[in-house]
Symmetry: C2
């Protein structure tokens, strides 16, 4: 196996923690001696041991003199409960460390590498850098911008409609696509919707996947009017403590008072969520909220499920974005396309 | 090589005539002796020899005792200038004929096979049947329905918009997609547009491809109001004799009188074109004409060029289709997707 193969393996391990590590990144580590893997580990969740520590603990023989592969620079800061990984690597007498990405956190960036080198350990970094950045796009973005990463989901016909004039829309995409949305929910910390979605669909907004053992995401509702029915499922089910309302007006809903937050605008809500370490947000609609986020350039990734049909007239997936020139239009980059049953999923970054 | 490989080869040969054979189908023929191809040919254009005749004429040795592969059933009817291919096959003492599709033309269907068998020739048919039907979808449709096949092109943003509210739209898709449209034009006999497209864009509506040696398509303009500027390029350039206007009102445009046709509706125009042997129509817009064709279920294939961007508000690619239930919406089948530079082309049959 080559260097890139071992780094690929750290990605695979890292992904086992998808949706559980936030606000931490997904990290995997592999310890290799004489071309054989003698220990592997990944960061299993926020507050749990780092990937390097897991890999050391899983070693089937002494790691002395071996090479450690890890997709993120080992930490060296001591302002947290767990001892820094760099110290552990030195203690275990690792000979060489091969890293994918440097840590974007200013407290660490390059300092982990420096500490290892000062202790005579050979260090290489930047292997499959872009792939690593993509894997941890949420973490990188939120570290750099001090804001949550917003992933917008849309589902429409080929002509950008989400419902007929009559309102009929429930099944515009097929069952495979609808099921996949639960995977996306599971990979995020919170689901965002507008009040209209609550009023019209009264959704559960939870992850419904077989064998799902992660934490259910928060349900975050944005309202301008404050018009929300107390009888909605999100205010009465077993997850009601994970329902947060951002409102521009005082409202009277039976929820813990700290779950109802008065805001002036979306930006204030995003800063609030960032401070609460909620950095992976999944915006599911409706079109008003999606439009507001897009207008304010607060969408980082768009996943669009396209049903290969035409509706003609009806409700638009997106309303007025306030664009007067084509050059100003939001454009997807690094797009991946994939069929989901009869529907086509296009997913890309918005920049 | 296997049977399927030789039939695949007939497809390749057939495609060399793409856009030149209408209202005839595209046909290729391969003559094989001792597992070697000794002659190949294709139908080069309407009024020219059939593929089988071309293949016989190109034989490098006597075809006696060999196998003929052809993607369409050899003709046996004598009500045309050229002698029927079945007779020629018998005369050349072909041992076996392997066919992809039977001829949908009721004058031929199965009768070519019958005639060959009566003359002691072994015949097999139905090899790669679906692929052959797709290759000649225009021919099959028009033979069965006695109507032209309409291929609709749309180009829009991901949210189904073709222009900003300001009207800015000229370059919604990139240069690769725009260039490819000329290939689609070259594969059709006529380009259809609404009067608004003529008024707004004053397009040439011709094929602009390097090394293009085929015939330029007809330009067919639909107008309700009759409001068309005499100064438009399509009424004054070197192809003006190939400009046809379908109008619901008498109009005063300087064109040969037989090029201006009064109609009551689209259906009447389609029957007129079918009678004139114009069966491969490429509908380029605008949205009003596209919507009218879709509403009346006159679109057989949709090719949608999606620019991976959002416009929000602006002009819709498609207007009201008069659908009141989701089940009634036009849906694409047998979809192929393909990136064209930055744009995604989705093409499928509408049924």
């Amino acid at each position: 196996m080559k260097t890139e193969d071992f780094i690929q393996r750290t990605f695979e391990l890292a992904k086992l923690g998808h949706g559980r590590t936030f606000p931490n990144p997904m990290v995997g580590a592999v310890i290799v001696k004489n071309q054989s893997i003698i220990g592997e580990g990944h960061h299993k969740g926020y507050g749990k041991p780092h990937a390097e520590v897991e890999a050391f603990n899983n070693c089937t023989e002494s790691p002395e003199g071996s090479t450690l592969y890890v997709n993120l620079e080992p930490c060296c800061h001591t302002n947290k409960q767990t001892p820094p990984c760099a110290q552990r690597i030195i203690k275990e007498k690792i000979k060489k460390v091969i890293i994918c990405n440097l840590d974007p956190n200013p407290e660490v960036n390059g300092k982990g590498v420096e500490l290892l080198r000062q202790n005579g350990i050979e260090v290489e970094y930047g292997v499959l850098k872009e792939d690593g950045e993509k894997l941890n796009e949420v973490f990188f973005f939120s570290q750099q911008k001090r804001l949550p990463f917003v992933h917008l989901k849309l589902a429409s016909s080929l002509d950008g409609k989400i419902a007929l004039p009559s309102g009929e829309s429930k099944w515009i995409t097929g069952s495979v696509a609808r099921h996949f949305v639960h995977n996306l929910r599971a990979q995020n910390q919170a689901i965002l919707v507008g009040a209209e979605t609550i009023r019209k669909d009264d959704p559960k907004l939870n992850v419904r996947l077989e064998h799902f053992s992660g934490e259910q995401p928060y349900r975050i509702i944005f309202t301008r009017s404050g018009n929300l029915p107390q009888s909605s499922q999100v205010f009465s089910d077993e997850l009601m403590s994970k329902t947060i309302i951002f409102t521009e007006k005082k409202i009277d809903i039976h929820l813990p008072s700290e779950n109802i937050i008065l805001i002036k605008d979306i930006s204030e809500a995003l800063h609030f969520l960032y401070e609460r370490k909620l950095i992976a947000l999944f915006l599911e609609g409706g079109s008003n909220l999606a439009t507001t986020f897009l207008r304010n350039q607060h969408v980082n990734r768009l996943s669009l499920f396209l049903n290969p049909s035409l509706l003609g007239s009806g409700k638009n997936a997106i309303e007025d974005l306030g664009i007067s020139l084509l050059d100003q239009r939001p454009t997807l980059q690094q797009i991946e396309s994939r069929w989901m049953g009869e529907d086509l999923l296009l997913s890309g970054r918005l920049k």
